[in-house]
Symmetry: C2
Subunit: 217 residues, 2 copies
Amino acid sequence: MRDIFHEELDEINQSLISLGKLTQTALDSATHALLTADLALAEKVIADDDKIDDAQHLLDAKTIDLMARQQPVANDLRALVTSLRMSADLERMGDMAHHVAKLARMRYPATAVPPELLLTVQEMGRVASKIVGKAIDLIASRDTEAAKVLEKDDDEMDILHRKLFATLLDDNWAHGIETAIDMTLIGRYYERFADHAVSIARRIYFLVEGEYYSDQK
Amino acid sequence: MRDIFHEELDEINQSLISLGKLTQTALDSATHALLTADLALAEKVIADDDKIDDAQHLLDAKTIDLMARQQPVANDLRALVTSLRMSADLERMGDMAHHVAKLARMRYPATAVPPELLLTVQEMGRVASKIVGKAIDLIASRDTEAAKVLEKDDDEMDILHRKLFATLLDDNWAHGIETAIDMTLIGRYYERFADHAVSIARRIYFLVEGEYYSDQK
């Protein structure tokens, strides 16, 4: 039987996983709202961002309370500090989904994304969702080999981000400055979402191995 | 005479202030490099970002070590958790200065900022530098009245950010898509830099008062 501290640490990990799932749902919905000009769905993502923030505050309060009551040292303390950092990553990922949804709402009833970028943005959404899904799994598994794979998944996001810029800078771009600004920001939101998910993988790798993955960019 | 714990906490605060000054210097240099196409200065900011990252890692290691050795509870524990969060804000602010410097380098020998945006970007740099300067002062003073003022300073940044977009969307904009993309990203970097400085003010307010400033956006 596990001791009280590790039972409570497991609960914190479960809460982190729940928070991760909330951000993944928010991102998936925001992507769908953006690509299909679905105002109701965009509004839902915007309204639900408070739930993500509240879940993070509650989780951090539990984590700090566990620190104060159980006075962990060494790896147990580092696990709780890492939990605080991962919850901050997840909260920020929720903000990125919120930003995507706000842009969908701002351009409604038009679709914010022009036809030649629909597939690129859809792919950015798919890759970002895949990366956060894997990051959530890592919180439970602490599988450091799987953690390294997220760096490769992030390369896919970089390629899509460059493809987006190439489309904006193509001589055939016919959607003007405003849409170019929108797409620049959208690209940044997906990239940052994925960056934070990769941060979670790196934090787990460091927690388990005590060093950073050497091929890390 | 203060006890060992509070002496070490003072040292951590001093390190946070030093880290804050590094990020302020990085931002000021990056702004100057951006506005004057100063390649050597841009290169210096880019190279110095590792020093900011190293300073943050060292500071966080000291903070976690103090947690483990002294087993603080209540407000002392919260002060250390807040220190970890503020160091993360400052490290990210260093990244924003780094991004500005990289754009200055990418467009060299041209000046990345077109003439009609020079003053707006200069002002964004001035306001961001003012806000981080005040945030650094707050780390020492813990003056909650002064902390509230940073929200107002951030309103200045929002106005400049809107002014930047208005210039990009003006019919007279003659610098094409690439420069519009550059300026969209530059605007975002300054805005995020200021957001993190305001976060530091909010964290200090919360640490001292035990609640969030009620007029907070």
